[in-house]
Symmetry: C2
Subunit: 325 residues, 2 copies
Amino acid sequence: MDEFERIAKLYAPLAAGFEGALGLKDDAAVISMAPGEDLVVTADALVAEVHFLPEDAPGLIARKALRCNLSDLAAKGATPFAYLQTTALPREWGDDWLGEYAAGLALDQREFGVHLIGGDSTETPGPATISITAFGRVAQSTAIRRAGAGVGDRVFVSGTLGDAALGLMAIYGRIAGLMAPDRAFLVDRYRLPQPRVSLGPRLVGIARSAVDVSDGAVADLGHVCEVSGVGAVLDFGRVPLSAAAAAALGRSADLLAPILTGGDDYEILFTAPPACAGAIAAIAQEIGIPITEIGYIIEGHGVQVRDGAGRIVELARTGYRHFRG
Amino acid sequence: MDEFERIAKLYAPLAAGFEGALGLKDDAAVISMAPGEDLVVTADALVAEVHFLPEDAPGLIARKALRCNLSDLAAKGATPFAYLQTTALPREWGDDWLGEYAAGLALDQREFGVHLIGGDSTETPGPATISITAFGRVAQSTAIRRAGAGVGDRVFVSGTLGDAALGLMAIYGRIAGLMAPDRAFLVDRYRLPQPRVSLGPRLVGIARSAVDVSDGAVADLGHVCEVSGVGAVLDFGRVPLSAAAAAALGRSADLLAPILTGGDDYEILFTAPPACAGAIAAIAQEIGIPITEIGYIIEGHGVQVRDGAGRIVELARTGYRHFRG
């Protein structure tokens, strides 16, 4: 198929139902916002050999690329509705590859209620590069920012931390003694993030700051602290772990560092005044996603990790490094 | 510089003045539209060795990447105001390269009144890939589409056609007898497009369809015809040529094909009812950009190129091929 056939057969169906996508037959898309709404927009690029492996399943690559962006929108309190993508793909990745890739997008479009509304596709003599720009809506002036944490806020996080980092280590055989179901769970958490799109919009008016955990919990909380001009204490004893992560950590205390500093969790980490704890618990109950208080905001700067006894824990890494680059 | 330093030193200054960019310190940007406005959004990716050469001046690469997108917005009648970019760059392209690249963006931001509001930057083990998503505003429901050409419409184009295609041929030494100033003019037209941002918004309410000439005049008029369900006659005798292109064509009639089918002109090609000819002439006068009537819309499909005597001209190519890929 040439570019026009690919657009018509694989991509145009993904635009159906969004009038402003103009059937992907135009130079641009048109977005009409309702009065009183702001648009929230974010972009992420994934490069083969850096963020994914060329042999990964095309559908999973598509879904991960999309979900990273949906996670960013969720952390701002926005409800996603559309995205653009540009792809630079090796010529030898033929129509079968692209068919599976588009099928992955179709799956997630249904799951998350978004539409492809435009973009560009080109060939590259190098590794595949996929760039997605995603759009969400939020009530005017209510988008949750990183810069909003205040001294005394509590730090909360959705779901569990560290699964993706351990999953990546498991893929490379760097975790001993993993049971097969635990390994499968951790690897899946790495391969297919669960953006917390049902949670983000519920945090509007409650969270004073928020970020999605993509660089690692310590680094992302650090980003919040830096732009908010505050510090934070992260209580390791309260960090929510999956059963698989807890079992792995039980066998090797060295996994504490990757759990707190590894990336790709795509949970929402946010701060809120203590008085909001009840409302937050109610939201967690309602949407069926656990939310755990894991620390608090202090004067100063930087993130201190403390253990159950209040002692400061030194971690080897405070950022996320991809498996290459 | 690491990624955070690069953002702070090179990119954050490009976001100054656009509040919703959040200083490039957040996961996303916030865009507030005025009531009665639509957002128009477009994305293009440029790949080294396909769309530009790695040794090209970084500032020119930046400006070309941005301008391709601004041209798409102009063709929709939109006024650009912001853009996101994702870059995947080889590690060995250091801070000097990036400094010049950012300086190019800064130049064009001033020229076109746009701001960088977000994005992503990563390394790649392959050729550089730059993806830009650009945003424009247009009065609600007035964006000019490709699908709008009606039988009897006249076909107009801004500026001159073919310069960029001849410029690219000149770079590769494929045009004989070029005078140095003519060569410089044509190469510049290839290297640095002039998006018609002052023209596009003026065409709202006048043009029934529009496209920017990036694939070549015949191909792009063909796109308009296809989605509009009409055909077109393009009168070659009326096609506006620069003095440099006219001189080259005078020496070699073979250049007719690249002039009409070569890409990268970034002029606006549009259709409008004959009664609008006077208004269009007035706009051309006012903004100082020539606009020329070059054909008309007919029933049927496809684009016929006719010479001054009305004979059909067969062209070797009807699409644009990049110099590689």
